[in-house]
Symmetry: C2
């Protein structure tokens, strides 16, 4: 099979690429390297075709799509917390980007796509854990709005052109190659100043995390077992932690005592942040999957990887 | 107050303009005349500022937005049934268009917007009448997907920048200046051939319609009475009719007997069509509103208007 992985040099995308390469599939990585990193593809560079290009470059995207059987569409602007500084970036990179991917698929007759959506599309739900068919949500950030818009496009393309779609609504992912988010930010800050840690919100935001390899197990299992044209699946764990717990675990792992936490205050880390994310994962579990790592183990593995790969701290300023 | 009405030369937009002019407000009409018609503004042209421009022309849009207090954002590509022929048009005109409107508002400090969304965002719901907070829908057309995407942007802008938003999810509207949809198509076809009428689907699709002036009454009432930042409101009637009933009413009004109906077949009129639309209007009724015209009366008024304004048949090919 021939696969195209958008964002294939990123955290999730490059991890997918590894699995595809092991199975001897043909793999095209399409990435603009805005947040992705070629280092993640170094060990497999002879086995893949790497195209450095943007999703807004429809000419190159259309060319890249020729003969492809399956698209993993992982490329996105994931700058959730700073989305209000550049409000149109999410729409361009995520929604228009997804539209371009779907158009390239349509033109080239590509019939399968897996898409990285987000649990943030649920906004601030009133049911926890939140199931896929919870009530019609209200969007709280440009990021979530742009992902919901992409979901709608995927569904309309599925119904309009018979494309099989997998919409995976992730919680935050962690593990090897993680370079974006709370643990990353805290780790960097503590390296610079081990006395004090600035925490957005009141530290009591409740978040759920999933280990990258658990996530990929689920994605591949769902894809293998699907009989539906439109598949919408939550991916997370059955537990959550407070942001303070992440800070505590990090301090403990780094052997730091008496770090003073300074809070920006408020229930949310930023405007549009969800104070509580916990997804209902019954649908995925019914396929025989369950997460193998706890959030605590997941945080610890992430810290271990960051300690062994300090270069990523310099790359991502 | 200073109002900007996008799509202000269209069916709904120009009807809003009339109400604003009567109340002596300053009115800017922003319309690219792709489906709108200057004829609808002829009687008020000395009282408004008309700007012929596209929503994708951000320079003119930003200029037009200066000093505006309230935006009625009615401009859209409403070509629901042919959306698969040009799948990116809805995204460009509707979603990117809405993003441009919101950006122009943000830059100019405009804090209020009413938006014409659609009951089609509910896809094929399993609850009728369908309430605003029904379960998370799956999009069935590019048109609905582009409107849902716009809703998400409005919500995110509201939360991010404190803009007050009114999202009105309409059923199909009819009445004076109606120039697009089933009655229009049937009327045109019957003028050309009074023996036979080609009907998309099996004619049993159940649709709900609202009279334009009832719709405007509701919108203005909701806007006057709102205390929320984000207002999402269904607008429809408590009844529905089958497509066959529309054809029957039209034939009766035109004095045509023995018209043979020829069906394209299938439960849906086109790929992505909703076989049943009936919105729950409790929320709007709680504000003291109710529709004054039945669907039958609404169809008849529409036919009367079309008979008296045959020029629109030539304008809209």
């Amino acid at each position: 099979m021939k696969y195209l992985v958008t964002g294939g040099a990123g955290f999730v995308g490059s991890s997918i690429v590894d699995r595809l390469v092991v199975k001897s599939h043909q793999v095209i990585v399409y990435d603009n390297l805005s947040t992705g990193n070629e280092m993640f593809l170094n060990h497999s560079k002879d086995k893949i075709l790497f195209i450095k290009a943007d999703l807004l470059d429809t000419k190159r995207l259309n060319e890249a799509m020729q003969g492809v059987d399956f698209v993993f569409h992982m490329a996105a602007n994931a700058d959730v917390k700073d989305n209000l500084k550049n409000p149109t970036k999410c729409l361009e990179q995520n929604t228009t980007g997804t539209s371009n991917v779907l158009e390239a698929m349509r033109v080239n007759g590509v019939k399968n796509i897996a898409f990285a959506s987000t649990g943030s599309v649920y906004g601030e739900p009133d049911v926890f854990p939140t199931p896929e068919d919870c009530k019609f949500p209200i969007q709280t950030s440009m990021y979530a709005a742009s992902k919901l818009a992409s979901e709608g496009l995927l569904e309309a393309y599925s119904i309009g052109y018979g494309i099989r779609v997998f919409i995976f609504r992730f919680v935050s992912l962690m593990g090897e190659r993680y370079t974006h988010g709370c643990v990353f930010d805290f780790y960097k800050k503590l390296l610079n100043n081990s006395k004090e840690l600035y925490i957005l919100g009141d530290g009591k935001q409740k978040k759920s995390y999933l280990y990258i390899q658990d996530c990929l197990d689920a994605m591949f299992l769902a894809i293998e077992n699907s009989t539906e044209k439109i598949n919408i699946i939550n991916l997370g764990t059955e537990e959550y932690v407070e942001v303070n717990f992440i800070a505590d675990t990090l301090c403990e792992e780094l052997g730091l005592n008496n770090v003073k936490y300074v809070y920006s205050g408020g229930k949310r880390g930023w405007v549009g942040d969800s104070p509580f994310i916990l997804l209902d994962i019954k649908k995925m579990k019914a396929l025989g999957w369950k997460p193998t790592f706890t959030i605590e183990e997941c945080i610890k593995r992430t810290i271990t990887w960051l300690r062994e790969n300090q270069w990523v701290l310099k790359e991502r300023q």
